[in-house]
């Protein structure tokens, strides 16, 4: 069943203020659409439920990257191509540039936005593990004002998040304090381009005086939404990276991960790959330490 364009209303108010007015006037009636790489797939297939859509494409406030000594702020409608070609993002947030370069294809990256990736809320989202390990903060906006939420608290369930009906995801804030951390990102899928992750792991860690002083692990496809692996982190924090620590971390991850069988992979495969990715990172950490 093909989508019928006449069945869907699409407006492009052109400014952030006008979009917020519309969302406030009829909360929940309008579905924001940015680059369309998710919603237009549903539309083409005739399964787009939203009948009233408001375009966020071409609104300058939402497509901007601001770099300060303390951090990088990324407008929600910044594309993955914008991110991967941005010098400061590459220098300060190398894992984010890498994740951006892995998303879909060049044509997808020209349209797909960071905010769209988060709001869509796929458990396999490519940018999410990285944002979790970089301690990202989400800024939302509505006519009622702005608020900030740690990204680790943004998703509240499968494809659910904290946004209210009149709110937009406005920006993603990333602190610049991971230069001394060892950083890791690996995505496992069927092929390098176009493939959605079977499982992905991002990590940042700092080793001080021979023990892990800080560690953040962000995972895709190990839970109903992208998550920090807090229990696994707890098993590693304060430990020297020994064989025993690695084994304990593997056990903690096996207990913590809740992967499922689906079209792309099996829970068993995802569990095995996840612990191997974790071990790969920990062995790197043991071999090279942090502070590259």
């Amino acid at each position: 069943m093909r989508g019928n364009a006449e069945m869907h209303e699409l407006v492009a108010p052109g400014s952030l203020g006008a979009v917020l007015d519309l969302l406030a006037a009829q909360p929940g009636a309008w579905t924001p659409i940015a680059g369309g790489t998710e919603l237009m797939v549903a539309f083409s297939a005739g399964r787009l439920e939203a009948h009233k859509l408001v375009s966020l494409w071409g609104i300058p406030d939402l497509r901007a990257i601001e770099v300060t000594p303390a951090g990088v702020t990324i407008g929600a409608a910044t594309t993955f191509f914008d991110l991967r070609k941005h010098a400061a993002v590459n220098a300060a947030l190398p894992l984010l540039a890498k994740a951006a370069s892995w998303i879909g294809s060049v044509a997808n990256q020209s349209r797909a936005t960071l905010g769209g990736n988060l709001v869509n809320g796929s458990p396999a989202a490519d940018s999410s593990p990285v944002l979790l390990t970089y301690d990202a903060e989400i800024e939302t906006i509505s006519l009622r004002g702005r608020r900030k939420v740690p990204y680790s608290e943004f998703h509240t369930g499968y494809k659910r998040n904290v946004l209210a009906a009149d709110e937009l995801l406005y920006a993603i804030h990333l602190p610049r304090r991971f230069a001394r951390h060892r950083q890791y990102l690996r995505k496992v899928g069927t092929r390098r381009a176009m493939a959605i992750s079977k499982v992905a792991l991002a990590a940042t860690a700092l080793v001080e005086r021979g023990v892990i002083a800080e560690i953040r692990l962000g995972a895709a496809s190990l839970a109903p939404y992208p998550v920090r692996l807090k229990q696994t982190e707890a098993a590693l924090l304060g430990q020297a990276v020994t064989r025993e620590t690695v084994l304990a971390a593997r056990r903690a991850l096996l207990a913590e991960a809740q992967p499922i069988d689906d079209i792309r992979s099996t829970a068993e495969y995802r569990r095995r790959v996840a612990v191997n990715l974790l071990e790969e990172f920990l062995l790197e950490l043991r071999r090279e330490g942090s502070q590259p």
Partner: protein
């Protein structure tokens, strides 16, 4: 908002304007109509093909404001004011684009369905990297699926086009040698 889905009082759709291959165009269609369908059905530019209709195969690739996009994923309202280039805009005054020449001479096209998208992705690649490495070519075309050629001839065509665009004549004998050797 109007209850009639955004139509004007006389029941038609408001005009959406953009530029295609250097020409100003205006269409009165539902704003959610896909750019792909507008190009093919309203502007009769049928060079752009539909493959998967979900942004996976790249056969509907066009260039919009200097970026490569899948036209099946773009509601035409989001193309308002944009500069669009389709495969029909590659040749200049009847002269094939170097990429088209190269695809012709190096067996880069077989059944032809993927070819317009491949050409546009390759044109985008060469616009960003005039002398792409093999890895860059593979990445630049990774979103374009071909089920005939096995891709190698396509990669060779792009390499040849990049070399052919060199003004340095010293490059040309090398290219000739490569071709003869095969």
């Amino acid at each position: 908002m109007k209850a009639n889905g955004g139509k004007t009082p006389d029941g038609s759709w408001p005009a959406i304007r953009f530029t295609v291959n250097g020409e100003s165009r205006s269409v009165c269609v539902p704003p959610m109509k896909r750019l792909l369908d507008v190009l093919r059905e309203n502007l009769h530019l049928t060079g752009t093909k539909e493959g998967c209709g979900e942004g996976e195969c790249g056969s509907c690739s066009v260039r919009m404001n200097g970026e490569l996009v899948n036209s099946c994923l773009i509601p035409v309202l989001q193309a308002e004011g944009a500069e669009i280039q389709t495969v029909e805009g590659l040749a200049l005054d009847g002269e094939l684009h170097p990429l088209q020449e190269a695809f012709l001479h190096h067996g880069g096209a077989q059944c032809g369905i993927c070819t317009p998208g491949m050409l546009m992705a390759a044109a985008q690649l060469l616009a960003n990297s005039p002398h792409p490495s093999e890895a860059q070519i593979r990445e630049g075309l990774a979103g374009n699926l071909c089920r005939c050629t096995g891709f190698i001839r396509i990669f060779e065509s792009v390499t040849a086009a990049a070399s052919a665009s060199d003004t340095d004549p010293a490059q040309e004998p090398l290219l000739e040698q490569t071709n003869h050797a095969r």
